[in-house]
């Protein structure tokens, strides 16, 4: 792969592609996009300059609000009012797109520059078949007949790996899974063989195994068509796996551009270093997760000096007063950085403290705090004349009555000890959130037992449950929708105390202030309303609210999934600190394996409503592996370009929980399937070693231990890749 630096692209000798042009395919110069709101205009993209050659992939990274998407949409001139491009040039294949008429731009969009959007669930028109949506793109830009366009559309669906494309072309988007929809979006993007693809967080909304497949697909399509890709992402793991060079954005500015390897080995801007450090590596142990403190400044109220100075550990007086530095070459390297100290700083060493101690040992000799036994939660799959009852005439004679259920949770058991964090991890639809809601009796369990300090929760009346709620709290993924928008947060937290007779009056006010300070906000925050806080701060409020009643257990349902990586680590550290102080227990639900790795003591890997593997973090993350755990771990992209992982790609998608596969639920996709036994016998969750490490698989322990250490296998594969 050729990876030229922006500045000396004219000296490039390895330019590939159909045209022998020496100039870069895309050359963005001083692009400025403003949003005119009531006050002063907000500059969302401030003098951004970079270039991209044919066939190259450039990453654009940064926290949310950094201006990545605005920059990308400005290139296509798709900025909605009140936004406006107020300066610069976007030279694409020798022509400035900002000079073009709207009509000329329409001929370019989808044809020469195409976009792959972020969310596969909302980016396809629900009332048009996927075929119509691909065909209309082809017919818009190519002079072909309807039937030819249809052929081309089927071909493009084939190319992106949609099985039975010819039959599925007339299906509607909702009939496809998320991963398949993302493939349709990729097919639309590539349908007119564009020179440039702008991929805006193309895998953010996907599960990790699907993400791996889509990234591979993008790479493959790109190589085949020699397309340039501008990859917008907040995930440095994705960048490390896919990009040739990278631009880092902060508060509307490009603060660093560099070759991929240089960026990771020797970042030149402190923000880049901080971004890299804020990602917990799956195979490292930390006492405290590395964080990137503070938040991006409000774009309408930027600091007087360098925008990053307030968060920068290396900031000096000159940084704070000297205005925002321009992006300049650093020494004789190919990197550019917007930092006045870039020449002097050596940021090649990670500042993250990587301590080997990991999590403290949990005393599991006593009684568990919380115990779940054979929990089942079935939802009625009612859609026939008779609800969920179906008559079947299979046996002849009288029809037999059959009830149909979605088995969301099917026979799940685990326990949690005081001071312990137990994780539930799995892809969307595996039933982990249903477990969380059912154990708290927010949903009625179909069957099974749940004990809290010996109390049978499954047997309690609603009054007793309500008083138990004081001991068991829940934090949801989206704090914005779980906090009452019409009340100041002090009242929200205070009410919880009153309801459970913990404190009233002056004492209550004091405790609210203490709690807010405990979660890293100020006591004065009590009088503010939820919308006045950022996403991370709202989650802090939600934690304070949960802590208000002094619970012994908090169920955390994807508590950091909606947050930026930097904020994620802050929240996880906060949860850990609170646990160290109060010996509270957590049931932690997440689809993010990296997060689970760093907050949990034990973890249950769930697949189709069942536990596939359960054990201590160290045991689950090392051999023997359940084949599903192994593929999940292999799919996590590492934020290290030298460690291209050898991914185990799963075939197909998760089967329907209404008609789960016979035998082992994972057998339809298992890369290590033995044969008939997997289809007929349901494997038991059996001990595979000491320390209560259990796996539900027919394979022998030896067979599950082939990859004796996950990390080593990875390095080996990295070597093979390099020798290719």
């Amino acid at each position: 792969m050729s990876a030229q630096r922006a500045e000396n692209a004219e000296h490039a000798d390895g330019v590939e592609g159909p045209t022998d042009s020496e100039a870069p395919l895309l050359d963005v110069r001083g692009l400025r996009t403003e949003f005119r709101t009531e006050g002063d205009p907000v500059v969302a993209s401030n003098g951004v300059s970079f270039s991209l050659d044919r066939g190259e992939t450039m990453g654009l990274v940064g926290e949310s609000g950094a201006g990545k998407s605005v920059t990308a949409r400005s290139i296509m001139r798709l900025i909605d009012t009140p936004g406006e491009i107020t300066g610069g040039e976007v030279v694409f294949d020798g022509e400035d797109l900002l000079e073009k008429s709207e009509k000329q731009m329409r001929d370019i969009r989808g044809n020469r520059i195409a976009m792959i959007p972020q969310d596969p669930m909302s980016s396809l028109n629900p009332v048009m078949t996927v075929g119509e949506q691909i065909i209309e793109t082809i017919r818009r830009h190519q002079d072909v007949s309807k039937s030819e366009a249809r052929e081309l559309a089927i071909e493009s669906m084939d190319d992106v790996g949609i099985p039975d494309a010819a039959e599925r072309i007339d299906d509607y988007p909702h009939e496809f899974s998320g991963g398949m929809r993302q493939r349709v979006l990729v097919a639309i993007g590539f349908s007119c063989e564009p020179d440039l693809i702008i991929a805006d967080e193309p895998t953010t909304a996907l599960d990790v195994t699907t993400q791996a497949k889509i990234l591979d697909l993008l790479n493959e399509m790109q190589e085949r068509e020699n397309t340039a890709v501008l990859m917008i992402t907040h995930n440095l793991g994705v960048v490390a796996q896919t990009c040739d060079h990278v631009g880092v954005m902060y508060a509307g500015n490009l603060v660093e551009t560099a070759e991929l390897e240089d960026l990771f080995e020797r970042p030149r801007h402190p923000y880049t270093r901080a971004l890299i450090d804020s990602i917990p590596e799956v195979d490292s142990e930390y006492d405290e997760l590395p964080t990137l403190d503070g938040a991006m400044p409000d774009l309408s109220d930027l600091p007087s000096g360098c925008n990053f100075a307030p968060r920068c550990p290396h900031a000096t007086e000159a940084c704070r007063t000297g205005g925002d530095p321009a992006l300049e070459s650093v020494g004789d390297s190919t990197s550019r950085a917007a930092c006045i100290h870039a020449e002097d700083l050596d940021l090649s060493e990670s500042t993250a403290v990587e301590a080997g101690s990991g999590r403290r040992e949990i005393d599991r000799s006593g009684e568990p705090l919380f115990e779940v036994r054979n929990l089942k939660k079935y939802f009625s799959a009612g859609d026939g004349v008779l609800g969920n009852v179906r008559l079947s005439w299979d046996g002849g004679g009288l029809p037999s009555v059959e009830r149909r259920y979605v088995k969301a949770v099917d026979d799940v058991s685990f326990d949690i000890y005081p001071g312990e964090t137990v994780g539930l991890v799995g892809e969307s639809g595996c039933g982990k959130s249903t477990v969380a809601r059912t154990v708290l009796r927010l949903l009625e369990p179909t069957d099974g037992e749940v004990y809290f300090e010996g109390e049978p929760i499954h047997d309690l009346g609603s009054g007793a449950i309500r008083s138990l709620r004081r001991e068991m709290q829940i934090i949801f993924q989206d704090p914005h929708s779980s906090l009452n928008p019409r009340k100041p947060v002090g009242r929200i937290i205070g009410r919880a105390m009153e309801r459970h007779d913990i404190a009233t009056g002056e004492e209550k006010r004091e405790r609210v202030g203490e709690l807010l300070e405990r979660v890293g906000l100020s006591a004065e925050a009590a009088s503010k309303y939820p919308h006045e806080f950022s996403g991370g701060q709202q989650q802090r409020v939600a934690i304070a609210h949960a802590l208000a009643v002094e619970p012994k257990l908090i169920v955390c349902d994807e508590p950091v999934s909606a947050l930026d990586v930097s904020v994620q680590a802050q929240i996880l550290n906060l949860l850990n600190e609170i646990q160290a102080e109060t010996d509270i227990s957590y049931l932690f639900i997440s689809h993010n394996i990296g997060v689970v790795r760093h907050i949990c003591d034990r973890v249950a890997v769930m697949y189709l409503g069942k536990i596939a593997e359960f054990g201590r973090i160290g045991d689950v993350f090392s051999a023997p592996f359940h084949p599903y755990t192994e593929s999940l771990l292999s799919a996590v992209p590492h934020a290290n370009p030298n460690r291209k992982t050898d991914r185990i790609l799963l075939e197909g998608s998760v089967p329907s929980p209404i008609d789960p596969p016979s035998g082992c639920p994972f057998q339809t996709r298992c890369p290590k399937k033995i044969g008939e036994v997997c289809e007929t016998d349901v494997p038991e969750l059996e001990d595979v070693g000491d320390d209560d490490h259990r796996i539900s698989c027919h394979l022998s322990i030896e067979e599950m231990s082939e990859r004796d250490s996950f990390i080593r296998a990875e390095r080996q594969s990295a070597e093979t890749v390099e020798s290719d």
């Binding site: 195409a114 048009m128 209309e136 026939g384």
Partner: protein
């Protein structure tokens, strides 16, 4: 889909049963005595009693009810006391006229309101949008009959373009019939337009900010294609319910509007029935109007499925 239709028809039957109960109860609570209305204030006690016995009004209420429901099931709605004709025949004569009026009005409303709503949404907060919103506000604030009076004043009295009222059967005189249909139908259509337009506008605004609209633009689609092909078909889905609701509302509105325009439809029939305490006729009218209401909502749900492929009632896919 098949399952869904069966279930819906089942629900409709249950609803209809409840409607018969209510209709029967209400008409029997109404003050006034049929025999007295028929015979006049000078009738003797004996003749009143004799007439009541003849009409079967002295039987226990539950007997009267079952008698009536049994008749209904066989299509017999009883005998109108006032007209001395079968209720079913009276309704069969009037109902098509009212339907003609309500359907035409709804068509006019849809033809006006959807393009206007789309136009207003596309030009959000600009002059056309503000004008249309203002118009909608006035439209919603005015009751249907007031629109009727305004239309009569302008088009019949001032400009003398259309007759002030009356009805001619389209099978006898098509032109004359249409001529008389224009004013009442447009008056009612205008009253309905406002609400449907507002709904179309807000639904359209929501759809236009959807991700798939952004993608359509990024594919190089023109504004016309984005609005008409991508946005409208999505935006119209919630509007369908509103249209069905407005149609039912129009059917309620005809009671007064028919009086304004001397339109001999089911509305005027109901009024006459109530004035003369003609219990079987009142009951018959209630049942028929309720049935129309249910059918139009059912039709809306089926249309929903047609426009929104995600809804395949009870589907297995």
């Amino acid at each position: 889909m098949y399952n869904y239709v069966i279930r819906r028809v089942g629900f409709m039957a249950v609803t209809l049963f409840l409607v018969t109960l209510i209709a029967f109860a209400v008409t029997n609570i109404l003050p006034g005595n049929v025999a007295l209305v028929i015979l006049g204030p000078n009738a003797t006690e004996e003749s009143l009693a004799a007439l009541q016995a003849q009409l079967g009004l002295n039987r226990p209420l539950y007997v009267q009810y079952f008698d009536w429901v049994l008749g209904l099931l066989q299509g017999d709605m009883g005998q109108s006391l006032r007209f001395g004709e079968p209720v079913a025949a009276l309704i069969a004569e009037r109902l098509p006229r009212s339907l003609l009026l309500a359907v035409t009005a709804t068509l006019i409303a849809v033809a006006l309101s959807i393009p206007l709503g789309v136009y207003a949404a596309v030009n959000q907060n600009e002059a056309p949008d503000l004008t249309a919103s203002m118009f909608a506000f006035v439209g919603i604030s005015m009751p249907i009959f007031l629109w009727g009076l305004v239309f009569i004043l302008i088009f019949a009295v001032w400009f003398n373009l259309f007759p002030t009222g009356g009805y001619v059967s389209p099978t006898e005189d098509l032109v004359g019939s249409l001529h008389r249909l224009v004013l009442p139908a447009s008056a009612m259509g205008f009253a309905l337009t406002a609400y449907i337009m507002r709904m179309t506008r807000s639904s359209m605004l929501e759809v236009l900010s959807a991700e798939y609209i952004k993608l359509a633009r990024a594919k190089g689609m023109s504004q016309r294609v984005v609005v008409l092909r991508h946005a409208l078909k999505n935006a119209v889905i919630p509007v369908i319910t509103v249209i069905a609701f407005q149609f039912s509302y129009a059917f309620g509105g005809v009671v007064v509007l028919e009086e304004v325009f001397f339109w001999p439809g089911i509305g005027r029939l109901t009024l006459t029935a109530i004035q003369s305490r003609d219990i079987p006729l009142i009951q018959g009218c209630i049942i028929v109007v309720a049935l129309i209401y249910m059918i139009s909502n059912f039709a809306a749900d089926l249309l929903y499925a047609y426009f929104d492929p995600r809804i395949r009632y009870g589907g297995e896919e």
